[in-house]
């Protein structure tokens, strides 16, 4: 499913839209970077509360479709700038991680 369709359907907003045509195959929820590196899959939307620069590195290395910050959390401007430079999509959801994951799951697995 194309990321821009996922964004419209599950009601999240785009902070950095580096590649909204990216295909989303699933999702992964974790705040542990090593856990994400070990278990997330390329094309997952990564839902996390972590908002520092290393999140961009992990997202890039693991080739996730984007990073979703729940509860309206916003990363700082330098993190957003790095994401733009590295071509990593950043998204913000008003709901909790549980709610975002639930909506994403329901949309991808109707």
């Amino acid at each position: 499913m194309e990321l821009r369709k996922v964004i419209a359907e599950i009601g999240i907003t785009t902070l950095v839209g580096a590649d909204l045509a990216r295909e989303v195959r699933g999702g992964y929820c974790s705040d542990l970077l090593s856990d994400v590196l070990a278990h997330a899959q390329a094309g997952d939307l990564w839902i996390t509360h972590q908002r520092h620069l290393n999140v961009i590195a992990v997202a890039k290395l693991r080739d996730v479709a984007g990073v979703v910050f729940p509860r309206g959390l916003r990363p700082s401007a330098d993190v957003a700038a790095r994401a733009q430079a590295e071509g990593v999509n950043l998204l913000i959801a008003e709901g909790t991680a549980f709610e975002v994951a639930g909506k994403l799951y329901r949309f991808l697995h109707p």
């Binding site: 520092h52 890039k60 080739d63």
Partner: protein, 149 residues
């Protein structure tokens, strides 16, 4: 002794201790180098994960060191060498979930205790040598053109 294979590419990166802002720059650079060399996405991903975990361990625990990327005809090697406290019990440190990370690092999502395990899981050959009070050397090798499960 098998004859050594030709070195195609060699890069040396310095890693500064406790510089979390810059942490991740070596693995990002290594990823870029391997993509430019035309490595498959699978090889690039495995090498990038190995490099990120090794780089984070050096940033969090060592007094600094270097990472060497060595690409040969038949393999990609990553060598991590640091000055620092060393690892007293390598088997224990390699166990998933074992960590000596301070709280501030854990709150940022580091130090969950899966770093060495992730490095090993993505390598075909993996070796840690360490001397307490001096430092640690890790060699992670990815063999090209063989199945990886």
């Amino acid at each position: 002794m098998p004859s050594p294979t030709r070195v195609i590419h060699k890069r040396i990166y310095e890693v500064a201790p406790r510089d979390l802002e810059r942490a991740g720059t070596v693995s990002t650079a290594v990823r870029r180098e391997l993509l430019a060399l035309g490595m498959t996405p699978d090889i690039v991903r495995r090498a990038s994960i190995i490099c990120f975990e090794g780089e984070m361990n050096m940033v969090l625990y060592s007094e600094g060191g270097r990472i060497i990327l060595l690409v040969r005809d038949d393999r990609v090697e990553l060598l991590f060498s640091d000055r620092g406290p060393g690892i007293a019990d390598i088997d224990l440190a390699s166990q998933p979930g074992y960590s000596t990370a301070p709280d501030w690092a854990r709150e940022l999502g580091f130090g969950a205790g899966f770093g060495i395990n992730n490095m090993e899981q993505n390598s075909d050959l993996f070796k840690i040598r360490s001397r307490v009070g001096e430092g640690t050397v890790v060699r992670a090798t990815i063999l090209l053109g063989i199945p990886f499960f």
